[in-house]
Symmetry: C2
Subunit: 139 residues, 2 copies
């Protein structure tokens, strides 16, 4: 059996329980994975438009619209003037920064636990591979 075959099966088998438990952790802060990803994005990369978020996450615009809406309602993000009157540029509010940083602590702890026994180098190596695979997907 070719190694790719098992590779992708393992990826699927890993992702499911990972997402489940990530959501359990996030629930403590009233968040879901999709919201969390946007908060992460805005916190680390600064303000962004829906299109930018959509591209970054490989998720269609209407899906982003919905999740952004939830975050606005929760008061975690707010609109700022963009380059256009079309563009809806969003950034974290005070409350958004706070909830991110609080959840961050929980998630850090969770992530450290499940990465136990895997060296930093290995992690970085695997990250490079994931980026490479993602690039290949986009061609």
């Amino acid at each position: 059996m070719k190694s790719e075959q098992q590779f992708f099966q393992e990826l699927i088998r890993l992702y499911r329980p990972f997402e489940n438990q990530l959501n359990v952790q996030l629930n403590e802060h009233g968040l879901h994975r999709a919201q969390w990803t946007i908060l992460y994005n805005l916190y680390h990369n600064g303000p962004a438009s829906n299109v930018e978020i959509s591209n970054y996450q490989s998720v269609e615009k209407p899906t982003i619209t919905r999740t952004v809406h939830q975050l606005e309602e929760a008061g975690y993000i707010e609109r700022i003037p963009g380059k256009d009157r079309r563009e809806k540029r969003m950034q974290l509010t005070e409350a958004g920064i706070e909830v991110y940083e609080n959840a961050r602590k929980t998630i850090d702890c969770f992530e450290q636990t499940i990465m136990e026994g895997i060296s930093e180098e290995k992690q970085l190596e695997m990250m490079e591979m994931m980026k490479k695979i993602k690039e290949n997907l986009n061609r």
Copy 2:
């Protein structure tokens, strides 16, 4: 920033487009990812009960019931006597083997493309890491 933080973000960012394109490939054979995973399981590990599939995939029983039902309706799997009268043990039919093997060709091709530039050793290494992470998740 800790490397785990980015690690899991990359995992999420990889999984989404991967699953999308996997489904595009599978659609050519009238399949979805969830069905495909069960066919894979039965093809490579032999007959299994719902509980076994559920454990293997870390997915709850009712979800498995539904997907198994779809595969039965399609004539790809069939019931065989289990150790119990409770147990619903399933195996691939002729048609199931055929559709798996046909789809397999498509998926092999897809997987080879997106693994371009990543050596077999690296792939095996990453697989080991994914298994390790999954173990850590189960504790």
